[in-house]
Symmetry: C2
Subunit: 339 residues, 2 copies
DNA sequence: TCTTGCGATGGCAACGTTTTCATCCTAGCG
DNA sequence: CGCTAGGATGAAAACGTTGCCATCGCAAGA
């Protein structure tokens, strides 16, 4: 049970001693917070490299009013392409800004999100990006003090807060409109969670557009609550094998799209498919596909600008919600089933 | 430019005052580090909830010998399924252990990896998981003191360190052997970076197995250095259109597999494909597919056990390298091109 | 009754920084 | 030559927490 003690990391005091100056001077050189004579500064810098010294973020964070140059990102779950893209873009943006991004996972549990917000705050991140989980029934979210928060992609329930997300309602509305224009009258809807954002916005759009055209969605063709691809596959198989199969299938996430395509490939069915998210294997689809193209770079740059303005106090106005527009991508199958 | 100052978060002193005890007692209650009378403890706990107090991780980390109950994960890049799986599993494991996982991205740059290791150490994480980037020519990696490090998935170059990875050499060797046994004599190899781990292990296996069978890989059928799917697609297209097309294509990552399948789908070619990584859209493949199945749960639990033992000093022996075995998955196409 | 021992609690130093304040030195000016 | 202004540097007080040590009170044993 020998304690694992490597040689303790050097402190600012060690650097000071080696350079023959005071701790204050070292601090000034490292932060550029005050003028230091060139020669002295050079000596300090040499000592720093020689000792391979880095300032202790913990000790630094203790002083009030000091930026940690660290941002936090709380993501609800780590499934799909969508999540990697978000992290990659945010990390790039943070790096460009000179900050470090720390990521953690809430597993879609509100209790965990709350805990992690506190945890990150206690590590004194300058600000937080959060993909909110559901479950805040007591409106606690609004009472979370500490670092400023920008909610990303999902709209948190029952709180006025800074949010940046895509206009998922409009995106889905356009998908359904397009299918309608193509003449499809028997469309199926395969969805995930529809009580919570952004599933709720997509589901609402689906219903609204059909009703606007005087059509009521056939309950046989609506199947929601899917959390994995497998159940979506089964649902679609059932529909395709019925006496009145759909001519088009609308779905929401990339995960479910794979499930849907699986069923279609198994049956060799000839239906049109539309999805609210992209997937990178889209070119393998056996049927025509329309997907919503979301510009994550725009999402991230909006979120970053907003958070940065909150952090440095440039923006102290009321919370804002920003809905970003989306594009659309139509893909014909490379190898049609019916060829 | 109004400073964004919310009401300062409460300190342990505030809790002590409210509960009518000393700071020491509050600390004892919160850490369970010593006996406190039930009634007193209860009063403290009430004060804590009333003030919504959380210990400052920064201040706490300042004391020597105190665990932060935080682990760091440095990942080289955020592409592909592989990466999400790793994070998800590690996060689960950390949570089960009672620790928080902080993730950051090295973007495959050694300088950034080094900086982030220092950064995380300065935040006093108890230990680090690192998917190493390449570029450590000076052997600096071994001189990184601070928290214990377990390298994951990739073997860092030129350093003796704790590593947990899959046996990618064996996995690739088995793939090639299997194709050989099936009678394939013109196999193509599409690879990414082959100078660095794990690409180098895979490339070596490919070469070794062919040579062992007395066959020399046809240079026309070997194309490496692909970083995106597009170039792989072009390479495979060229091969398929030549007068002596391959009968099988071997590739390494999920990203490249998609590129390969794209070419095959475009040409309507009838070749066998093998890949060293899984993809979730495998069922859409137009041709038979053999993929290596890697058990990430095993990878993570091995890494976690190792790190935990290093942290609490249970294991202070020399560094170990662990190569985990892999499985194999054969998938017939749902809808064959030639049907 | 006096002592001893122990359980519960409080006081205080230390952890590694930043920053204010004071001090020192030098150059410039009368 | 004397005085001052100002630039460079050092000393020391926080920041919020933990752990050692001291103190206090009370019960048990002599």
């Amino acid at each position: 049970m020998s304690r694992n003690v490597g040689p303790k990391p050097p402190t600012i005091k060690d650097v000071a001693t080696l350079a023959g100056v005071s701790m204050s001077t070292v601090s000034r050189v490292l932060n550029g917070s005050a003028a230091v004579q060139d020669e002295t500064a050079e000596r300090v810098r040499r000592a720093v490299t020689q000792l391979d010294f880095v300032l202790s973020a913990s000790a630094r964070a203790l002083r009030p009013g000091v930026r940690s140059m660290t941002w936090g990102l709380l993501v609800d779950a780590v499934e799909s392409h969508y999540f990697s893209t978000l992290i990659a873009e945010l990390d790039r943006a943070a790096q460009a800004h000179g900050s470090t991004l720390l990521v953690s996972v809430t597993q879609k549990e509100w209790a965990r999100e709350k805990h992690l917000i506190k945890e990150m705050s206690s590590r004194r991140v300058d600000g937080l990006f959060v993909v909110p989980a559901n479950g805040d029934v007591l409106g606690e979210r609004s009472r979370l003090a500490g670092a400023p928060i920008v909610y990303v992609d999902r709209i948190p329930s029952g709180v006025v807060a800074d949010v940046v997300t895509f206009d998922y309602y409009r995106a889905m509305a356009e998908l359904v409109e397009e299918l309608w224009d193509q003449g499809h009258r028997r469309m199926a809807f395969i969805g995930g969670e529809v009580d919570t954002d952004p599933g709720s916005r997509r589901y609402a759009a689906w219903n609204d557009i059909l009703r606007r055209h005087g059509s009521t969605p056939d309950p046989e063709l609506v199947s929601v609550g899917h959390l994995v691809a497998g159940t979506a596959t089964e649902a679609v198989l059932g529909m395709l094998r019925s006496d009145q199969p759909p001519t088009a299938v609308v779905t929401t996430t990339g995960l479910l799209l794979l499930g849907v395509l699986h069923a279609i490939a198994l049956e060799g069915a000839d239906v049109e498919v539309a999805c609210s998210e992209e997937i990178d294997a889209a070119f393998l689809s056996p049927v025509p596909l329309t997907v919503v193209a979301a510009d994550f770079t725009a999402l991230v740059s909006n979120a970053v600008d907003l958070l940065a303005a909150r952090i440095d106090g440039t923006n102290s106005g009321p919370p804002t919600t920003k809905l970003l527009p989306t594009g659309r991508l139509r893909l014909e199958p490379l190898r049609s089933l019916t060829s």
